[in-house]
């Protein structure tokens, strides 16, 4: 019943793609086939339309180009047919290779066709890197805009404003060119009134940014909200969402991502950057015929684009490729691995040359220390892993509950008001605490930082005994009052972030999850690290410390604990494994910390998996009811194909089309009365022997076109799918041959096939439907939606939550 809703308007929305317009314009002119004599004389007037690949050599290309506009494309919110797309690509490739021997021009064409993939990767990397640079620089500037403005040039953020001036050691952030709002308005920056004014301006700017963001999203591109990764996962598994990767979505997502991040909300930009990169990939695909017309090849390109997106978000090309492989992609052929790596490298290199952070680093929180760690520290690291897993499971449960409430109750009717309220709460609570007032990336950067003599932040205010300082090596020190203040402020920040992120992720603005999770983990890690450090300082004589941590040696690095905590929390929420470790170690640039990171990531994944099986993205996929067949889960029940197939025992019999005995009117009635997306074609109703499978969309377009363009097609014309027309009295109206849209090789299983094998076939081949036969006769059909419902039923979930087909 809901299926109708999603096919409603599908033609309108699907034909808004540019390429549909061009195909319609180009190939409705059939005069080109008049040059060749038709092979089938009896077909008369419509040989040019049905001849396809049958006529002579010059019409070989017709075989590959769609004979009709719209045939071979998919409706919105439907699954693609991987097998058909892949075989079409192989045919195209075969054709180009065979023609390349004919002339030099054809040879060049074949070489350029092979090269087009690499050129496309290069372009994707360049565009993704440039957009990431734009986003970074703008977000950095706009975040600082909430606090003040630079008089030397309004486009400079705080750090760049004070670039040239000499500042004191303790007040290194103050310089004459940068004025806070209270300084600008009142003339001085001290005092209660100035504080209140700063507070007020901060909240006003935050509200303004977030309101602009949500209005732009609502007005121009509603698909630009949210993280984007669950939908991209579904798209890469074969689903079609038209407009999700279009140019308006790209523009709006880029612009509103900056606004959302700058408004101080507890969200990150990494997930949306993956969406932005995939949009770039999709848009650039339109430049190359090979990728524009083939949905399967396009998804290979999108996998590579996703890798480029993560690569610019973290400055981690290898991590990006692994993320694409592990989290986002469904099929990942080996060829895609190399190309993804190339795209990720080009993107990272482009971003580096734009140099958004002024020191050739790609991420704000790149760390450079290489302090050693001791084996006994694995105990606190595993504790951090357990914390990460617990927090991950808690976050997923609460966020899904909140999103479900937003989906089903009146809360969802007021998206703009919701964003306004959440931003107001976040801004009002965030300003008093300096650790929540600064942007989350800066917070993570400060937490990852190892304290040296040259740091003067509150977190590094240890009691310094200058007489015992030898050069660069700092001894371990007692915590000064600044550190204690920082500790409780960080604890408050932790509580606030844990709760506010639940309500922020999933709002109708672009929102990512990586940075808030890393922030939560980093705060927890730093708190634990400082605690362990002070414990070691005050109790050198304890057995656990005496072995390796002698008096005067600085053996505990709280910055490392923060890093491990960040990795643990991120792993607990997203359930990433290898990609997480690789991203984190590419961030640090050193191999020393792989073991702690792996220990924490594994522990957090195990703990989180024990509580709830799905990561956040899979949970959102299930919440939205996308037809995503999970590739990692085993199907372990003993059901058979005949338990799942339709029609069930009490249903009306299967709707079939006979191969040569139905009229146009009969077929139109079937199409109007049922909403199935495809119909099996059988020899006759009595024998029920299978001929092939035909798609609803192709039928509609072909019949409509035939009624208009061909002579003599009326409602009583017979439709036939065979090679030669059936014998009919000469007085009957001319017949309509639709063999070209018939799929002659549909997949079939017998009714006794175990569902394990059927699910495996669906997964590995990417099928959309599978016919069920018994003793050679057609019995029923299993679609992907039936498989998903069956799995949901056996897992005691609600089978009606699968909405799409």
């Amino acid at each position: 019943m809901d299926q109708k809703g999603y096919r409603r308007g599908s033609f309108q929305s699907s034909t808004s793609d540019e390429d549909m317009l061009e195909i319609a314009g180009a190939s409705l002119d059939f005069s080109m086939a008049d040059d060749d004599p038709p092979l089938d004389r009896e077909m008369g007037g419509f040989s040019s339309y049905n001849g396809g690949g049958m006529n002579g050599t010059s019409t070989m290309m017709d075989f590959l180009e769609e004979p009709l506009p719209g045939v071979g494309t998919y409706e919105d919110f439907n699954t693609i047919d991987w097998v058909r797309e892949k075989s079409r690509d192989r045919d195209r490739h075969r054709e180009i290779t065979s023609r390349s021997k004919e002339s030099t021009w054809a040879l060049i064409h074949s070489v350029s066709d092979a090269f087009s993939g690499w050129l496309l990767m290069l372009l994707i990397g360049l565009l993704a890197g440039s957009l990431a640079g734009l986003i970074d620089i703008s977000a950095h500037w706009m975040t600082d805009l909430k606090e003040g403005v630079c008089l030397a040039g309004f486009w400079f953020n705080h750090e760049h404003c004070c670039w040239k001036s000499n500042t004191t050691f303790t007040d290194r952030d103050k310089c004459p060119e940068w004025e806070s709002w209270s300084q600008l308005i009142l003339g001085h920056g001290e005092g209660a009134f100035a504080y209140i004014l700063n507070y007020f301006m901060y909240v006003i700017w935050a509200l303004l940014f977030s309101l602009l963001a949500v209005l732009l999203v609502k007005g121009f591109a509603p698909y630009a909200c949210g993280s984007g990764i669950p939908e991209i996962k579904t798209i890469l598994s074969g689903f079609i969402i038209r407009g999700y990767l279009g140019k308006w979505t790209l523009i709006i997502k880029t612009i509103t991502l900056v606004l959302a991040v700058s408004s101080g909300l507890s969200l990150g930009k990494e997930g949306p950057l993956v969406h932005v990169a995939c949009c770039c990939g999709n848009i650039l695909c339109h430049l190359f015929t090979k990728y524009r017309k083939n949905e399967a090849k396009r998804r290979e390109v999108l996998s590579a684009a996703a890798a480029a997106g993560v690569s610019v978000a973290f400055g981690a090309p290898i991590g990006g490729v692994l993320f694409s492989l592990e989290e986002v992609s469904y099929y990942f052929p080996l060829k895609t691995l190399w190309r993804s790596f190339f795209a990720a490298l080009v993107a990272a290199f482009t971003l580096r040359s734009i140099n958004p952070f002024g020191n050739s680093r790609l991420v704000l929180f790149y760390v450079e220390f290489h302090m050693p760690w001791h084996l006994l520290e694995l105990v606190p690291f595993i504790l951090l892993g357990i914390f990460g897993g617990l927090w991950g499971a808690f976050f997923i449960r609460s966020n899904i509950a909140w999103c479900r409430r937003r989906k089903t109750t009146k809360l969802g009717k007021y998206p703009v008001l919701e964003v306004f309220v959440v931003t107001a709460i976040t801004a009002i609570l965030a300003f008093p605490n300096e650790y929540t007032r600064m942007s989350t990336s800066e917070l993570i950067s400060e937490l990852f930082n190892d304290c040296g003599i040259l740091d003067s932040s509150k977190l590094c205010e240890y009691v310094n005994d200058f007489n015992s300082t030898k050069g660069d090596d700092l001894p371990d020190r007692a915590a000064g009052p600044g550190v204690y203040t920082a500790m409780w402020q960080l604890a408050l920040a932790l509580v606030m972030k844990v709760f506010i992120t639940i309500f922020t992720f999933g709002m109708k603005v672009p929102s990512g999850l990586f940075i808030p999770s890393m922030a939560v983990g980093a705060i927890a890690g730093r708190l634990l690290g400082v605690a362990v450090e002070q414990l070691a300082y005050y109790h050198h004589d304890w057995a656990i410390f005496s072995g390796w941590c002698s008096q005067g040696a600085d053996c505990i690095t709280p910055g490392l604990y923060a890093m491990v905590g960040a990795a643990a929390c991120l792993g607990g929420v997203t359930r990433m494994t290898v990609s997480l470790v690789v991203i984190m170690f590419e961030l640090t640039g050193g191999l020393e910390y792989i073991v702690p990171l792996m220990a924490a990531a594994m522990t957090s994944k195990w703990v989180a998996d024990a509580i709830g099986r799905e990561g956040i993205y899979d949970a959102h996929i299930r919440l939205n009811g996308y037809p995503f067949l999970e590739a990692k889960e085993e199907f372990s029940h003993k059901t058979l194909a005949m338990d799942v197939m339709r029609p069930r025992r009490n249903d009306p019999p299967l709707t079939v089309i006979t191969q040569d005995s139905m009229t146009v009117e009969d077929v139109e009635t079937i199409i109007n009365e049922t909403t199935y997306s495809g119909y099996p074609v059988v020899v006759s109703r009595e024998s029920q022997r299978l001929v092939g499978f035909v798609l609803r969309r192709d039928l509609i377009i072909s019949i409509e076109n035939a009624r208009k363009k061909q002579d003599g097609i009326v409602s009583t014309s017979v439709i036939y799918f065979t090679d030669h027309s059936p014998p009919l009295p000469p007085s009957s109206p001319s017949m309509l041959k639709l063999r070209s849209i018939l799929d002659l090789s549909p997949f079939t299983v017998t009714d006794q096939t175990p569902m394990e094998i059927v699910v495996d076939i669906f997964r590995k081949l990417g099928l959309r439907q599978c016919l069920v036969t018994h003793n050679g006769k057609l019995l029923g059909i299993i679609t992907k939606k039936d498989v998903l419902k069956h799995i949901a039923q056996l897992a005691n979930q609600d089978p009606d939550s699968i909405l799409f087909n």
Binding site: D2, R8, G9, S10, F11, Q12, S13, T15, S16, M20, L21, A24, L28, P69, G70, S112, L126, S130, G133, L134, S138, W141, G153, W155, W163, K164, S165, N166, T167, T168, F169, R172, L212, L216, G219, P222, C225, E231, K247, W248, I255, L287, F288, K290, S353, I354, N355, G358, K407, T408, G412, L454, G471, G506, L623, N624, N672, I700, I701, I703
Partner: protein, 191 residues
């Protein structure tokens, strides 16, 4: 490789990204390099940060820290604790990026204001009420064949460029409306 560069928006994109990428490489403004020396507190001198516009080989404590706060023999001990780093940036890139961003944002806001406030007023004045009602119709697949008719009818030539723009805009508006329904009203995608 049939490069179907359909339309000026794509060209615009490529030009913009080329500009951005190109800017990253150029503009070695002499104002944009610095050597930053951080010197921690020493004895009774407070800590200070020094910035100076020197080349990379001159980026050390002796060239940058001026005036030297400590007398002669202590200079070496003082300088040992200082850390000097050479940094570069491109202020032109920053300026251009921010201006591009703000102009795109401004254009989008103006367009939004135009669509929500100005256009209905204009339309009402020119065409009367009937046009408005038509554009609000629900798109339905009630008659699949009627919609197929639309699929095939796209090639109808529109000689007038203005008509083409109007037609594209109408189509885009319908698309956005459809998306808005799925996301905001029916909550089927992106909840």
């Amino acid at each position: 490789m049939a490069a179907r560069c359909g339309g000026w928006p794509r060209l615009c994109w490529l030009l913009a990204l080329a500009a951005l990428a190109g800017l990253g490489a150029e503009a070695k403004n002499s104002e944009d390099v610095r050597c930053k020396c951080i010197c921690p507190p020493y004895k009774d001198h407070s800590g200070q940060i020094y910035n100076k516009n020197v080349s990379q080989k001159d980026c050390d404590c002796l060239h940058v820290v001026e005036p030297m706060p400590v007398p002669g023999p202590d200079v070496e001990a003082y300088c040992l604790r200082c850390e000097c780093k050479y940094e570069e940036r491109s202020s032109v890139t920053i300026k251009v990026t921010i201006i591009i961003y703000l102009s795109i944002l401004g254009l989008l806001l103006l367009y939004m204001v135009y669509l929500t406030l100005v256009e209905p007023i204009l339309k009402r004045r020119l065409f009367g009420h009937s046009q408005l009602i038509q554009s609000d119709e629900d798109i339905g697949d009630h008659q699949p064949f009627a919609n197929a008719h639309d699929v095939l009818a796209r090639s109808r030539s529109r000689a007038n460029v203005l008509n083409k723009v109007e037609y594209a805009q109408q189509r885009w508006k319908l698309q956005v409306q459809e998306q808005r329904k799925s996301v905001f009203d029916r909550h089927v995608v992106l909840s």
